[in-house]
Symmetry: none
Subunit: 219 residues, 4 copies
DNA sequence: CATGAATGAGATTTCATTCAT
DNA sequence: AATGAATGAAATCTCATTCAT
């Protein structure tokens, strides 16, 4: 009846666009502040102030500060998962897969320092075993499933979900450590150079952990 | 006026002992809760409740929640520094010193998981550059000075304080990463095994960073 | 430009009709919710939601929530007054007038339960003496005047306005009591049966209160 | 061990007494304001202001405004129930029992006008059928049980709980009506006089409703 | 010294109202 | 005329801190 045809799913009126923009402003402001001073230490007012919006506006988009944080985490994890999933690259072997996994994580968090701090502050990854907070579980499970899919071709099926969890934890730990390390502003060249042996050691440990038969490949 | 006479130097009266015991109970309760749910999310009441004391009692021992946290951090850092300082061991070379540094950190934080979380949550180490919070600065500088003293014999003097800072940061990152990694309950044997190459890689990077002349030693 | 020509006196255009319909939808929704959960506990959004309209629309028809409530009360009182005024019936005597008064009230509120609750919740009638809220005063005075007119022929003039007020209050109390009583779903027959002596007692008390000379008439 | 013996149940220290006094001050202030301007229109600050206490103090005694209101209702109902239960008076017959019931209610609410308004405003009695609000249910059921006990000897057992409910509702309606009626400040003598026939009519209706066999006693 | 009732600053949250579309 | 996103004043509620006992 109207001119729109294929775009009915995204009826981007002016208002719609403003809503999206507002929501994004809130998320951005919150992310910056959360990673800067911590979730608890950040007040709603600071967020809306930073977003140049009224205090009440936040509550039109999120029911609470917690939900706002959950949205940030979900968003970060989603993008991380997309990165991990990659572009349907050739499979290679477990070693290459693990290397790609580490590189993806490092790359993602290097580009997204705030998300890195947010996830580690909320300690998504340290909470690997606990599994309490409802709002965070879902994105995290999505993440675990993706890791599982990546290594599936190279390990005997079915994989113990616990093993995936632990691998994820190890990867997270590696990234955390390495980024803290690199956060000291070492020259980029140095970073790469120091990364190579660390990554190699890490991959080797992970392969061993996963019981890779092809382990005996030359170090 | 009172009965104490010669023992004034160590006036361990009944009351004195109780004071010490009370203080310890508070510190323990606070440490456990802070590392469990975060400093901000922990209320004074929860702490005194856990310590089985009245709320007001906390304020007889610490002037504020912040001071309580500072006391915990100071205590943790003090013990860590004692560990680093060691028992007057033979000096050896930079490589050995760095290895000992890493081992000490790993050992300390493996034994003191709560302190680990507390320091990283308050992000003592991530704050390496920032240097804001007054209460935390002092113990941290103590720590940096100790690191500096350890490596002093092997690097050209005077050392750039920034370099020490960065080394500390790298060590912290390594520990953080490795502990997260080991936090997954890998068999102790596995842990040691996987640690060896990671540590080697780390030491190598650090030596390079510090400009160790003896760098060309076999990898 | 538009089709309207001769009918400007009753310009019931499409738009006009919609306006009226919209206003009615809002009033109905508000009445139901106000009587269901109380005026204060009802939000503008709930009302417009129930009316299947946008939130802003309410403000095109009423300048505020208070005005909306006042409109409801005014409307209810107007209809009640119309009922009281009756259809120019023969005057009879005070007893008959009072009986008619009670019957009219009972009938009206039996048919309009929501209005009953609204008026008693806002405690229009309990506020008989207070006389604060500006928006409500006017319809209430209209009501009092009508009561006064009804009994005027049978009491010495001028009537003390306070007496009218009190009579109104008594009538309201009677209705309130009787409706609560009848709210328990007694069979209609029972209700009528139990009403008769209560009403008689009430009328008798009221006549006495108004100093009806003809009081001694057979009960 | 200490001097207290029988009074261990009420260890009324100075502090304890203050707590009780504070709680009472809050309840009194709240009751007055709730009945004056309605529960919703009364703010926490107004209550604590009126009680001459800090805002936070209220929350040491009640977890929320709702709980405060529930406490008031419970208290009121408790006292009403005590009144109804009476002092183990001779049983008499149903008529006398009902008369006593009405008199007790009237007396109680005449003495406790604020409670009257509170209960009718929160519409405890109008909610007879609904049975929603958890916090209010319990005191209300206590009340119903007491009514049931009072009439038990005179009606065939077991009584339909619904019948008790309806009787309670009728009583409440009667009281509500009569008090509104008496609220107009009729001379006390007038009130008694006008009450007699109303009460008689009411009792008669109730007896009929309860199916009293001895109904045919002279009106 | 130990206590916990009281406090009030400041945080979160609600919602009547405005206004650009 | 209708809409609903945005607003901020005002409410509720939390909790570190004080202080009388």
């Amino acid at each position: 009846m109207n001119g729109r045809s294929a775009s009915d799913l995204e009826p981007v009126t002016r208002t719609q666009k403003r809503v999206i923009r507002t929501r994004k402003k809130l998320l951005q402001a919150a992310l910056a502040l959360f990673s800067e001073k911590g979730v608890d230490a950040t007040t709603i007012e600071e967020i809306t102030e930073a977003a140049d919006l009224g205090k009440g506006t936040l509550y039109r988009h999120f029911t609470s500060k917690d939900e706002l944080m959950a949205a940030l985490i979900e968003d970060a994890v989603d993008r991380l998962v997309v990165g991990i999933r990659g572009k349907g690259e050739p499979r290679g072997n477990l070693q290459e897969t693990l290397e790609r996994l580490l590189d993806t994580h490092l790359g993602f968090f290097r580009e997204n320092r705030d998300e890195f701090i947010l996830l580690f502050q909320g300690r998504l990854f340290l909470k690997l075993e606990r599994d309490e907070d409802g709002a965070i579980e879902e994105p995290f499970n999505l993440y675990l499933r993706e890791i599982g899919k990546q290594i599936a071709p190279f390990v005997p099926q079915p994989i113990d979900p616990l093993k995936v969890r632990r691998l994820a934890c190890a990867v997270a730990g590696f990234v955390s450590g390495f980024l803290s390390f690199a956060m000291i502003d070492m020259a980029p060249g140095e970073i790469e150079k120091s990364m190579v042996p660390l990554r190699a050691a890490m991959v080797s440990a992970a392969r061993s952990f996963l019981g890779d038969a092809a382990q005996r490949s030359p170090l």
